[in-house]
């Protein structure tokens, strides 16, 4: 029997039992949809983070406390030993080569008149910060060296803060209450959106000196190093490590370049993809078992038909192929529906946060679902092919 005819017969059999065929493919549909969707979300996340980080500038180095990627000290959590002196040391030794800004961070409630903004991120940074990280102001100015030295209570606010506290009216030169102390608003940031669902605009920038004094923090969360010459990033990174090592051990800090950050992130998203993909693959497997189950039922139900077909001249291989093709069509169709649904939902989800559907995820899930059809279709097909026609014709 030629393949075209086999496919036609398979379609006839599938369409003869539409509801059951649909329910059979549902497992595959769900499996493929989730594979596509999960991969789309994770790779969308990766694309998003990558562009965000690249947007910060490729000449950026971060100093963060603790050792990234190395062995952790017993107990897991390390003490943060990074202090302002380290930022000062870098500033002195790297003068002319790079701009430095230490940074501290604290969450606080902001208040203006009767309006509240709970959980805003207060960043204490230095006046050099805008030279390192590209941030744009939509009004006012960033604080200057003098503000920092005098520990003035001045603040640059994000869009969310502006919207929460100054729904109507002008924020500039107003006095905002930050965790109990009054700050004068001197600048407003342009909107930046959110990363990982964290609103980047619900933030307020104040001089690091002021923040340290008010909150009593002497440890730094980060030291930003903006390398003046982009070709010199690796050199500066080496120097920074040497400078910091004079006071700290190598377990106390990490100097990370953008490239390293990106590779760390792609490692994380790689693991995420594998883990989520694995879970989704399990659902595909369950879908495959569903197909096998229904195909076995179908073989039993159609025992007499199989007997008849054999009696009138079907070879065992004809019967085997018919059932195998049926299983493959069922799973392949499930795969196609799953791809359409997965891509569709990814597009809808993409309106809220970045999703990208890589071509390989479509190929992978279609290939995998077809493979599932073959693997789980073989057993019922062989069972059908081996039926004895006399017994099969007698079957009630």
């Amino acid at each position: 029997m030629e393949i075209v005819q086999t496919i036609k017969s398979a379609f006839t059999a599938i369409l003869a039992n539409k509801v059951r065929s649909f329910l059979t493919t549902l497992g595959i549909v769900i499996g493929v949809t989730s594979v596509i969707l999960l991969i789309a979300v994770v790779s969308g996340l990766q694309t998003f983070i990558t562009t965000q980080i690249q947007g910060l500038g490729s000449n950026l180095l971060f100093v963060i406390p603790g050792r990234v990627g190395g062995a952790r000290s017993p107990g897991g959590i390390q003490e943060n030993k990074l202090v302002y002196q380290d930022a000062l040391n870098l500033k002195m030794k790297l003068a002319g080569e790079a701009e430095i800004s230490g940074a501290v961070q604290k969450n606080a409630t902001l208040q203006f008149k009767n309006k509240n903004d709970k959980g805003a991120a207060v960043f204490g940074v230095e006046a050099t910060y805008p030279k390192i990280i590209s941030i744009k102001l939509s009004g006012g100015r960033f604080f200057r060296e003098v503000d920092q030295q005098a520990a003035r209570r001045v603040a640059v606010i994000g869009q969310t803060v502006k919207n929460n506290l100054f729904a109507q009216g002008q924020p500039l030169n107003q006095s905002v209450d930050v965790a109990g102390q009054k700050y004068t608003v001197i600048g407003i940031l342009e909107p930046r959106g959110s990363i990982f669902g964290i609103d980047q605009d619900n933030s307020i920038y104040v001089p690091i000196t002021t923040a340290q004094r008010q909150f009593g923090i002497d440890r730094l969360n980060t030291i930003y190093i903006g390398v003046n010459n982009p070709g010199n990033v690796a050199g500066v990174q080496k120097k920074a490590i040497a400078i910091l090592k004079k006071r700290l051990t190598e377990d106390d800090f990490t100097v990370q370049s953008q490239e390293q950050t990106l590779s760390t992130i792609s490692q994380i998203t790689g693991v995420l993809t594998a883990a989520l993909g694995g879970i989704a693959a399990i659902s595909l497997l369950v879908g495959g078992i569903g197909i096998m189950n229904i195909m076995l039922v179908s073989v039993t139900e159609r025992t007499r038909e199989i007997g008849l077909r054999k009696a009138v001249g079907a070879r065992p291989s004809d019967i085997r192929n018919q059932f195998l093709v049926e299983a493959i069509i069922l799973s392949g169709f499930g795969g196609i529906i799953g791809i359409v649904l997965g891509v569709g939902i990814s597009l809808i989800v993409g309106r809220f946060f970045t999703t990208t559907v890589p071509w390989w995820s479509v190929l992978l899930s279609f290939g995998f679902s077809t493979l599932v059809g073959i693997i789980f279709g073989v057993t019922p097909a062989i069972r059908a092919a081996r039926l004895d026609p006399i017994q099969a014709l007698r079957y009630e």
Partner: protein, 221 residues
């Protein structure tokens, strides 16, 4: 000319420890164009014999030559091919595919002969005309009477123009009037020169055949 030649055929069923000899030393020749009836009590081995003639089963010992060809060494694929080309089956319980039109039921064996779809339709239509059902091409089995269903089954047996038609109690599920109609068709086929072997219980039906083979406890008497 001999079409079916059975020599010293024995069939022993082996179900676990119990052995049962269903056919004992059967010698039977059926000539081309012959219309033979096989009669005998229930359990006497009629169907067993028919299955062997139809290449659905193999004898335990003995020689079966079909159309001059020794069948004892045939592989499954080859016997399927011979069934497809040379043998047409008619069963007591019709065995039509449900939810499938008369035309498609009749055309089904031609699929396995590699006949193209349009040719299949033509041949199936002709076969249905032969049994007087050219007005029921698109009817489903559930829309046909028992006699009509059996005529569709006969058309299916005829469609590949076989050497021999094997009918196992073709009238067993029919009333006597429908049974007579079926016999009329068999007579016509016989007149056209077809070889027919028919199993039956009923003396009335056996009367239609030109030769009656009696079988009792697995032996031809």
């Amino acid at each position: 000319m001999t079409l079916v030649k059975l020599s010293k055929i024995n069939k022993i069923y082996n179900s676990g420890e119990i052995k049962f000899q269903a056919l004992k030393n059967i010698n039977l020749d059926i000539k081309k164009g012959e219309f033979a009836a096989i009669v005998g009590a229930s359990g006497s081995g009629k169907s067993t014999l028919m299955n062997i003639i139809g290449l659905l089963d193999k004898p335990t010992t003995g020689l079966y030559e079909l159309d001059g060809q020794n069948t004892s060494r045939l592989k499954e694929d080859n016997s399927a091919r011979i069934r497809n080309k040379k043998i047409g089956f008619v069963f007591q319980s019709f065995n039509l595919l449900p939810r499938t039109s008369a035309l498609d039921n009749v055309a089904m064996p031609l699929i396995y002969a590699g006949v193209s779809e349009s040719e299949r339709k033509d041949m199936a239509k002709k076969a249905l005309e032969q049994v007087g059902l050219d007005d029921k091409l698109n009817s489903r089995p559930s829309q046909l009477s028992g006699g009509q269903q059996q005529r569709v089954a006969i058309a299916r047996a005829l469609v590949n123009n076989p050497e021999i038609i094997l009918a196992d109690e073709p009238t067993g599920n029919l009333d006597s009037k429908s049974g007579q109609e079926i016999m009329k068709i068999f007579q016509e086929l016989h007149n056209q020169g077809k070889t027919i072997v028919m199993i039956t219980h009923e003396a009335d039906i056996a009367k239609n055949a030109e030769r009656v083979v009696k079988i009792m406890d697995g032996e031809i008497t």
